[in-house]
Symmetry: C2
Subunit: 317 residues, 2 copies
Amino acid sequence: MNNRITSLFAIDFPLVQAGMIWCSGWRLASAVSNAGGLGLLGAGSMTPEILGEHILKCKAATKRPFGVNVPLIYSQVEKQMEIIIREKVGIVFTSAGNPAVWTPLLKQHGITVVHVVANVKSAVKCEQSGVDAIVAEGFEAGGHNGKDETTTFTLIPLVRQATTLPLIAAGGIATGRGMLAAMVLGADAVQIGSRFVASEESSAHPAFKQKIVETPDGGTFLALKKVIPVRLIRNPFFQKVQQLEDEGASADDLKMLLGKGRAKLGMFEGNLEDGELEIGQVAAMISRVEPAGKIVGSIMEEYDQARKDVFFNGMPC
Amino acid sequence: MNNRITSLFAIDFPLVQAGMIWCSGWRLASAVSNAGGLGLLGAGSMTPEILGEHILKCKAATKRPFGVNVPLIYSQVEKQMEIIIREKVGIVFTSAGNPAVWTPLLKQHGITVVHVVANVKSAVKCEQSGVDAIVAEGFEAGGHNGKDETTTFTLIPLVRQATTLPLIAAGGIATGRGMLAAMVLGADAVQIGSRFVASEESSAHPAFKQKIVETPDGGTFLALKKVIPVRLIRNPFFQKVQQLEDEGASADDLKMLLGKGRAKLGMFEGNLEDGELEIGQVAAMISRVEPAGKIVGSIMEEYDQARKDVFFNGMPC
């Protein structure tokens, strides 16, 4: 398989593992890269020192390309970027911020830059800022989310129309059929998060992984829209948030309830009652915890089969 | 083209025009049916007498099958069903209610029954109730919407897993590529609303049609969740709703603001400031008002091309 994304990253399959807080350290990223996809370290939950350690361990664990996802909203971005440049990481995904701020410096150092967007305007800005590819992420995605609530099905064709950049679809994708559907809508590749959170190599707490496997359709919801929209499992903490929101709570009220460290508490420490449990709607499709390499293999196998079905059977089902 | 849905309805293409309030009378339904799709009358905005007239006019305008969409939340459902049975309409889509209530009577009269769902549980209930096919509608759809906010990309594979019934995907679909993507996700057919609202034969007010053409991505939003979730264009009326909701307004407060006849005011009478303007996210993909038959033709042409692209080019773009 060979297209603009596999060439850009020098990988076998147009499949990116999302760089997620508390879940995607060197074990997961290297496993995905070794399987022929692109693994990403999630810097959003790492101090610069820990990020540096994960980069070294990831290099030791794979000879294949990998990258780092850097959410631009955190305070230590500058130091994280220093380490990324120093350690000569070849690929950086930036998110939750302005692509114009870091792209020029990263490009000067020969780094491939990808930026995550949730609307057309930001996609156009990416092109103007010189990024190499775009991730367009729909409303169904887990974790932080755009304000417009545009879904993957609607967003991908719109971004495809608006820019010529290589396009990676994210949000709602966990299978080979989903991958093919995203390609049909105009994507060159897909980014998959939730299914890799539930992988053996993910650093998510085992109790959180089990919770994902048990999550039914409708089991997640977008919360904290007045602070920063985030998709969470509807656990007791979520219920408290929702009640406050129904009563018209302000952003400050919600920040007070949120406090600090809720995501770590839920996702990394496994407190399923009081923690934030960030996951996508597609958790409802995930039925087991598997090795990341096996996930990559089965997605690509299903993708190939679906492609043949579309043509030979006329209809895929 | 031949599959379970084309056989069930005796139509040429697995493409259904959604039965929508204030937009889909006999002109639109007959135009879609004449073009080889399935046209639906939208009974939700018709008195039983007016529905009877539209059925007679639709019969006169097409020899092809057509149907009626009956939202089960309105007070005159019983009389509407009487007329549908009396006039021997062959196909009924029910929505916004329990499929167990009307399906047995309709089936006794030899009517093909389809029910609209937004989650897996309701899909299973449809199968138990003896309906002939399911419409699964995602969060991105216009108008009334499910409470779980599950998107088309996530919902279709989940419903496909849960039932063996023929499955029609709805929400976010306006093009041939969208149609193919929905098929890849597991649908046998698609239901398209927004693009037909912006057709020449639609009874929507010309000002509303023009507004759809101008709607950008992010131009719609789900509102009135405490009453009944509905996707609207973000016009001045929507802004008032949103402000009340942000302040924690109760369902009663919102009903008071809503009053009566808002949808008619906006969609049928063209008051773009004070009316409810129900449309899907995919409005952002719609760039002109066209004849309904031409819409059907161009969607099917794009669908065929996309299928060939998937196979011969390996990648669709």
